[in-house]
């Protein structure tokens, strides 16, 4: 039976000056509706490449990506992306950044007043309703990323794709954004695919953690189900055996089975 999102035998090869570079091979992944999936792996293992293929920003050279049985060939708002460096447009205010997406996606479906309300609703969802008239350069990194999430959520995506969304944030800001993301996920039940290099973040947020082998020609090494009840709380979780086990399993994968290439060579 087909799942909600299917990545089937997907691989990609980039043409280079000499020959070609194979980044991914034989990637198979099935994601159900409402699942929260993290992809973890060492840098350069092709996590972003995989996410970009699902987003449609890159075209796979082999295999196929199916979302609700329809082939993904190009980017689109039903697969909204939260980029690592937020990529808000600096000449627009917070409101206008979200409005740009809302106006484009719901041009024919919602009236002007409805679009306005929807823009504000999504900004309220990430607690940025106080800063609607600010420009990105007046915001902290965490606030920018909140707006980035609001912009993506406002497109009502079938899958929310997040490319190391909290990678550039300090630990405290990161924690508060993780809380916000969990809250939103509980409330809206989105399907989320998130890249991270933070093991705790992966265990805290995900239903399943996809662990990738080292590149070149990376693929999925293992998939770990995180069987922790929701809602999850960071403080109580730390002592729970299932949490500790999951954490240890990811650590083991990353530092025993798939050691960083530079360390392996040394």
């Amino acid at each position: 039976m087909k799942s909600y999102l299917n990545v089937e035998d997907t691989g990609i090869e980039f043409p280079m000056a000499q020959g070609s570079f194979r980044a991914l091979r034989n990637v198979n992944l099935k994601i159900e509706r409402g699942e929260f999936i993290s992809i973890i792996g060492h840098s350069g293992c092709g996590k972003s490449t995989l996410l970009n293929i699902i987003a449609g920003l890159l075209n796979a050279t082999e295999g196929v990506v199916l979302l609700e049985d329809r082939e993904v060939r190009e980017p689109g708002p039903e697969r909204a992306v939260v980029f690592q460096n937020h990529s808000l447009l600096p000449w627009l205010t917070v409101y206008e950044n979200v409005q740009l997406a809302v106006d484009k996606v719901f041009a024919s479906m919602k009236s002007k007043a409805e679009r306005h309300a929807w823009t504000l609703e999504n900004l309220a969802l990430v607690r940025m309703e106080q800063a609607v008239d600010k420009r990105p350069n007046e915001l902290s990194g965490g606030m920018k990323q909140r707006v980035g999430i609001a912009r993506a959520l406002a497109m009502e995506p079938k899958v929310l794709l997040m490319d190391e969304p909290f990678g550039a944030l300090d630990a405290l800001t990161r924690a508060s954004l993780q809380e916000a993301l969990m809250e939103i996920h509980t409330r809206l039940g989105n399907t989320v695919l998130m890249i991270t290099h933070d093991i705790d973040e992966a265990v805290l947020l995900s239903d399943r953690i996809v662990m990738m082998t080292n590149g070149p020609a990376a693929t999925i090494g293992d998939v770990l189900s995180v069987k922790l009840p929701r809602p999850r709380h960071r403080l109580t979780l730390a002592e729970e055996p299932a949490y500790v086990q999951a954490r240890a399993a990811v650590l083991k994968f990353l530092y025993e089975r798939e050691r960083r290439p530079s360390e392996a060579a040394a």
Partner: protein, 296 residues
Amino acid sequence: MAATIVKLKRDHAEAVSAATPAVAVAVPASVAPRRSIGISREAIVRLVLPFFTFGFVIAAWVVVQTHIAPELPTPAAVAQRAAEIFADPFRDAGPNDKGIGWQLLYSLGRVSAGFGLAVLVAIPVGFLMGMSKTFNTAWQPLIQILRPVSPLAWLPIGLLVFKAVDPSAIFVIFITCIWPTLLNTAAGVRAIPQDYLNVARVLKLGPLEVARKILLPAARPYILTGMRLSLGIAWMVIVAAEMLTGGIGIGFYVWDEWNNLNVASIIVAIVVIGLVGIGLEMVMNVLQRRFDYTAH
């Protein structure tokens, strides 16, 4: 604008001549320490130092005039000439005798026309060069060859093609303005982060929407810098162009006064050209503050 500058200058001149030198020097010195909160030391220094420089230049001028080049007019003679010129800047006594205000307006008109046309051409072409590697490869060598050429070299071509003075001068300004605006626009488009374009792709913006909502605003700071450079150079080039074309305009005025051996007028014109240049710079500053999101 020229008129207001004149008025300010005159008022200032009167104020200075009314006060004795001793008082003029004593005032800031005695006031400054007590009003330390009102006017900062730095602000006074910023005002006073340029005055010393101006004073030094005028002193040097007097020395050169008395000992080396007696043909030069004295500062007093120039001031008197300035008073005459600005008494009626918009005098119009036939085609060969117009006030400096008219001369400036004609020059500014040519600069605006050439600059405006150049911007209209340079921004779209710059966009093409920034977006398409093929287009860039095709055009870059031609632009590299033409860019270092003095725009005045194009004047004869303009005269040949247009057979009239005015369009030729505008053509020269057009050539002057096109390169900096074009190259900056292209650089600005090339510098647009891939992320912005990815946002556009995820939103499925059409080509026109991408240009209007992403590319143009993203490249705007570069475009404005190019326009600012263009306008600055254009104001320098127009003086030379008008010296060659004759007729009317501030450049012609300078040349005409040279033919009349009226050097005092030329010195007045030099100062006025400088002040108008500052004015143009200020206009671009305002534009840049208004439209450049990086300047906030």
